[in-house]
Amino acid sequence: MTTPSGTSRNPWGTWAAVLARLILGGVFLYMGLNKALDPVGFLKLVRQYDLVHGPPWINLVAVTVPWLEAFCGALLVAGVAVRGTALLALAMLVPFTALVIRRALEIQAATGSAFCAIRFDCGCGAGEVWICAKIVENTLLTLLALFLTACRSHRWAARPFLLAAGTPGPAREPSPAP
């Protein structure tokens, strides 16, 4: 339950939100930086998905996605624009997961391997992964992003609401009457 001031009355919910922010933000930051530090490697992986062709589009995707992920991760860890950033993370996670599954199905069709026996570098930032483990991981991250998008409890957040000046902020003690 959330108070009008944005702090939760449920301490478990408050700490769950902090934990969710740190996990989702930490994963995004780590994965994003891993890709950002090897842009050529990521460019080659983007090409494997055969979604965008030729410069400047494929280069633009390879340049922006890793840094955008790292940026979102940093915002979540710091607690800046939490709900908007979580919504953006959600908007990235869902299509990325669908693309990874599509790619795994292509590999499965070409190799005849069992679906969960497929291990490949999906360009997610952690090298080669087992596809089923990746799907579970992304599902959990999606749930965290959904939770943070809906949640209005923001303990230990530097600036949880970017656009709402004066609305939900940290609870303050009422000023004593003069």
């Binding site: 050529v40 055969d50 940026f71 908007g84 190799t111 709402a164």
Partner: protein, 210 residues
């Protein structure tokens, strides 16, 4: 303003600032990509699946399939550029040819610096075609004077040797002198051929281990 609209606006603001940060970081990073450069010259489509799958399909007898051989598509694509395909025998023969010692036959490693330092064909030039400004000035004069230039990368479905060959061709090296070795460094190791580590002509060799 309704809360949902504010949420979407906030996400949009984060997206916009994030993209600007990305472009700025790319601009400042020494590893940054050029937005306008074609990093995959001569290739319109990526190879159909397989390249990244590391679990080959088991055969009925329990063995795994050998690494994929160069496909007819790869050969046709290279030939369309006037570039030749070198098999293992031709590569070994060229390596032992006296012209190799005179640098009239040269090997060009199209992988990145890290892989090159870990091990390369002895005397091979490093040409990471993703960073032409860094490597082309050193490799181009050698390619222009050589009679035969053999390019390789990791082998299998690695395409970097193809892209490097097309880049060299575009830089003025006659296509007739360019050979791509699709078996690549993995086949070189499998054949137990000598491997040099560190910089070019370091004189430090290691045992070939596939």
């Amino acid at each position: 303003m309704p809360r949902s609209a504010r949420l979407i606006l906030e996400a949009g603001a984060v997206l916009l600032v994030g993209c600007l940060v990305a472009l700025l970081a790319n601009q400042l990073s020494p590893k940054g990509l050029s937005l306008s450069r074609d990093y995959f010259p001569g290739a319109s489509r990526p190879p159909t699946p397989l390249p990244l799958a590391s679990v080959p399909a088991p055969q009925a007898n329990g063995q795994t399939n050998p690494p994929p051989a160069p496909t007819n598509t790869t050969i046709a694509r290279l030939q369309a550029h006037g570039i030749q395909v070198a098999d293992s025998n031709l590569v070994i023969q060229s390596f032992h040819d006296p012209l190799h010692a005179q640098e009239l036959i040269i090997f060009v490693d199209a992988r990145d610096d890290r892989h090159y330092q870990e091990g390369h064909v002895p005397g091979a030039f490093l040409f990471d075609h993703y960073r032409p400004a860094e490597y082309l000035p050193a490799v181009l004069p050698a390619c222009l004077t050589a009679e035969k230039v053999i390019l390789y990368c990791n082998g299998g479905n690695c395409e970097d040797s193809e892209f490097a060959a097309v880049t060299l061709k575009d830089a003025g090296v006659p296509a007739a002198r360019l050979w791509v070795y699709p078996g690549g460094f993995s086949e070189w190791l499998t054949n137990g051929l000598p491997v040099e580590t560190g910089p070019r002509k370091s004189g430090v060799f290691k045992e070939a281990r596939p």
